[in-house]
């Protein structure tokens, strides 16, 4: 049972990481599909919590999510396995195929493939926001928080980590 869990973690993060073209943010929707929809390790709302913690801290987002989910599913071994799943395949590809990659990363074929996949990545990220939204807006005040976030990001240019911190203090004062 424990080993199947570790194997599932490994496979979930390997799949998510190796289909996510466009860096960490492109991996988020794929992690959500594995973690929320396929294995039901977290709910949509819990996944939003994981993203909140991840966005409040520095460093790559994909490995933070792997650590967060891995620990909740199988403790520290789960962290290790989810991390290995996230980074090992691409790390091996980089080191073993370095010469090949340096030669072909600027080829028009690869550029064309990446251009083709980018709209898909964006739709997936937008869909993730949309789905996490169900359950995240239980009352009118939470819509106010969302509106304030849009303003803070686009006009006040506040840092996302700062907005997360402010919203938590706000929640503590208003929603308790």
């Amino acid at each position: 049972m424990f080993f199947t869990q570790l194997w599932d973690l490994f496979m979930a993060f390997t799949r998510a990481s190796n289909l996510g073209f466009g860096g960490g943010p492109a991996v988020i929707p794929l992690i959500k599909i594995e973690v929320v929809e396929r294995y039901h390790w977290l709910t949509n709302a819990q996944f939003a919590d994981a993203l909140a913690v991840g966005n409040a801290l520095p460093g790559p987002i994909a490995t933070k999510l792997a650590g967060y989910v891995g620990y909740q599913v199988s403790g520290w071994l789960g962290v290790l396995v989810a991390l290995i799943g996230t980074i090992l395949p691409t790390v091996l590809a980089v080191v073993l195929l370095m010469g090949f990659l340096r030669k072909y990363t600027n080829s028009p074929i690869l550029k064309g493939m990446l251009k083709g996949v980018r709209p898909v990545v964006i739709v997936l990220i937008a869909q993730t926001a949309f789905e996490m939204g169900s359950g995240s807006f239980p009352n009118l005040m939470t819509w106010g928080v969302a509106l304030a976030t849009v303003v803070s990001l686009n006009w006040l240019k506040l840092h996302p980590a700062l907005i997360i911190a402010i919203s938590m203090v706000f929640g503590l004062l208003v929603f308790r």
Partner: protein, 184 residues
């Protein structure tokens, strides 16, 4: 050798722990450490490494760590650079995550999470918007987006198939037309 490994570890720890906003926000910080400070590679090679990072799936920061770590100190260098990139923040994330689970019934935590969830939804939506601004150069890109939405909601297909199909489409539609322009 040990000095090199330690430098790699510290360089990637610094870059990773000062970069808020996920992997792509770490790229300039990694450049400062590896090109400007330690001069392990020049600007041109860093651009090559970044191109590889952008072409491969998965997190960009760990791909850069692997590339530069291997160049500086072989497989041990890969390990040192990856540990520096990943371990400190993962440690903090796990601790915060276990606190959230442990106190999931506390009214204080519930209130905080209730306020933070809409923020996260907007942050993810904003990521889609920001990436989208640069990703729709022509009508065919919009076509791909519309087809993706249709497939996701009407057919309920796994995104893996859509991703692979879009890459093949990109190869056929954008990959070959520009072939003649390549100088080599």
């Amino acid at each position: 050798m040990l000095k090199k490994l330690w430098d790699l570890f510290i360089a990637f720890t610094r870059a990773s722990n000062l970069g808020f906003g996920g992997g792509p926000s770490l790229v300039p910080l990694i450049k400062v450490e590896t090109v400007d400070r330690y001069q392990w590679l020049d600007n041109e090679e860093f651009a090559d490494a970044l191109a590889i990072g952008n072409a491969l799936p998965g997190p960009i920061a760990t791909i850069l760590a692997a590339y530069i770590g291997y160049k500086v100190a072989g497989w041990l260098g890969v390990l040192a650079a990856l540990l520096g990139t990943v371990v400190p923040t993962v440690f903090i994330v796990v601790l915060l995550g276990s606190l959230i689970v442990k106190h999931s019934n506390s009214p204080e935590l519930k209130a905080m999470l209730m306020a933070v969830r809409p923020v996260v939804v907007i942050l993810v939506a904003q990521t889609a918007y920001d990436m989208g601004k640069k990703s729709f150069p022509g009508y065919s890109s919009w076509g791909i987006a519309v087809v993706t939405v249709a497939l996701l909601y009407l057919v309920d297909i796994h995104p893996a198939f859509i991703i692979i199909a879009a890459m093949l489409f990109g190869w056929a539609a954008y990959g070959r037309t520009r072939k003649e322009k390549v100088r080599n």
